[in-house]
Amino acid sequence: MSLESLYQEIILDHYKNPHHKELHAPYAIEVHHNNPSCGDEVTLRLSLNGDSIGQVSWSGVGCSISQASTSIMSDLVTGKTMSEALELERIFLELMQSKGNFSGDVEVLEDAVALSGVAKYPARVKCALLGWMAFRDAALRAGSS
């Protein structure tokens, strides 16, 4: 696998110009996650719109993979219903745990399929998941409160 296919243009674009990377107020829930093995961190805020994801905003430091993944995730879940968003998270998690054995459905995951190469690098999977895990945590807390 080549570096180019890991770091697709789309990832580098999101890294350089991350979407939703500015903490917004008001919000329903704020969570803070980190990756203790490297020190990367993300703070994520979520507001709901009835049963749908209203706004996702975040800040943090991290590598291109974690930043791009969080940026793409924010785009993807915004406006989805809670259960659609969590289903997306499940599918993305599955892709990341696939060890590179499948490439992801572009119809469903859209830009996030560009991250499929990460699954071949176990040490980087945690980077790609950092923002998604923060989102999942926030969504579950928002749902249960």
Binding site: N34, P36, S37, Y121, P122, A123, R124
Partner: protein
């Protein structure tokens, strides 16, 4: 006959070809102390060092990835071998460390403010239950804990056969019991503890049950769920594995509440100069660069054991034990220290011979190439209870043969002749 031929697998253990004193081929009957290693275990370590060696969970490079896979793969093998989940397995340096780790879990939960309300918090209103037949490794850590917290130390006595006397179980394990720590199989008498009976009682009163499985996991199928226990400890080196690796298994809900003994790298969630928070189990309990090659070696040992089959191993050892009980039992002046029938006992056999001190007997056996252990076997309180100063112990494993048992019996008879008793 057991489902395998012990003579044929001896070829996997190079040391068994060793010629020791007086040109005699080694007869290794000191398996209770440590086991010998098959080629596959030592090769697995070599393969790790020469192809994949790197610090696990840390590096951002291919070797670190491969090393992590190898290490975590070993964890999975260790887990399924005792019917546990991977994340419940902690690699320690030894059973001794594993048992101390649980005792320090109690001490630290007791010292730390965060420990109040945790099942590991104890004080002088609580008690700790052990037994007279414990190995020092499953006695001293609890003595220390009792002394440091004021909790009361209680124990099951032993009967003359060296089995636990459970007559007063209801009063010994009571509502104030915080932890019950017992050995699965005695390393002196071979007696096997009726674990479910006692762990049920512990469950009733809400006590944590810790099993010292040093002499059971290597020799029989052990299932932590069926035994209904909370913690289990054993040493890799007694189970065909490398030295320098032990296992602590704990129920995840309890591990989550247990403070670590060792702190340092790779076990934190965050750290500042003045404070730190800890990672989830098992990482919380594996501070520092772990014993990676040894864990991998233990994984290979478990593969080896499973290929032979734990049931077949137990059966084989039982056959050897029957033969030894009969052969030794027929020698006049010889007393078996421990159960004399082959029911609920493993392949560890202690005895004394009138007029010959165990050291002297061990010396004669050694002269003939037979390696046994003599002394108190790190179970001094049991010696005191059974009123013996020391014993000679033979302990069997999968590679021992009937012929070796016969050599042992013949050598004891020779020793009597030599010392004219």
């Amino acid at each position: 006959m057991a489902g395998f031929d012990s003579a044929s697998l001896r070829g996997d253990f190079p040391i068994l070809d060793r010629v020791v004193r007086n040109g005699n081929r080694l007869v290794y009957l000191d398996n209770g102390a440590t086991s010998q290693k098959p080629r596959s275990v030592v090769d697995a370590e070599r393969e790790f060092y020469f192809h994949h060696n790197a610090a696990v969970h840390r590096g951002a490079h291919l070797l670190a990835e491969e090393a992590t896979d190898a290490f975590e793969g070993a964890r999975t093998k260790v887990a399924s071998h005792v019917n546990a989940k991977s994340e419940e397995i902690i690699f320690t340096k030894s059973a001794t460390e594993a048992l101390n780790m649980v005792a320090y879990g109690f001490l630290n939960a007791t010292l730390d403010k965060s420990g109040v309300g945790s099942p590991f918090h104890i004080d002088k209103s609580k008690n700790i239950v052990v037994s007279e037949l414990e190995h020092h490794a499953n006695l001293l850590p609890w003595q220390q804990l009792a002394a440091r917290t004021g909790a009361q130390l209680r124990w099951f006595p032993v009967d003359p056969e060296g089995r636990l006397d459970l007559t007063n179980i209801e009063s010994i394990i009571d509502a104030q019991t915080a932890v019950v720590a017992l050995t699965h199989q005695s390393n002196v008498t071979g007696a096997i503890t009726d674990v479910p009976l006692i762990s049920n009682r512990a469950r009733q009163v809400g006590a944590i049950f810790v099993l010292d499985a040093c002499q059971s996991v290597p020799h029989m199928k052990v299932d932590v769920q069926a035994l209904n226990i909370d913690f289990l400890a054993y040493s890799g080196h007694k189970a065909l594995g490398p030295t320098g690796v032990g296992v602590l298994w704990g129920r995840y809900e309890l591990l989550e509440q247990m403070p670590p003994m060792l702190t340092g790298g790779s076990m934190i969630e965050s750290a500042t100069i003045t404070s730190a928070t800890f990672a989830s189990p098992p990482k919380r309990f594996e501070a520092g660069v772990p014993n990676m090659a040894q864990a991998v070696g233990l994984g290979a040992a478990i593969d080896y054991l499973n290929n032979v089959g734990m049931g077949a191993i137990a059966e084989h050892e039982s056959e050897l034990t029957s033969r030894a009980l009969a052969g030794l039992g027929a020698i006049s002046g010889l007393t078996i220290i421990g159960p004399t029938n082959n029911h609920a006992r493993g392949g560890v056999l202690s005895f004394t011979v009138e007029g010959i001190h165990p050291h002297d007997l061990g010396q004669v056996l050694d002269d003939k190439g037979i390696a046994v252990r003599t002394g108190h076997h790190c179970a001094w309180p049991l010696m005191q209870a059974l009123k013996v100063n020391a014993t000679t112990r033979a302990s069997f494993y999968l590679y021992n043969t009937e012929d070796e048992v016969d050599q042992l019996v013949a050598a004891v008879i020779d020793a009597k002749r030599f010392f004219k008793v």
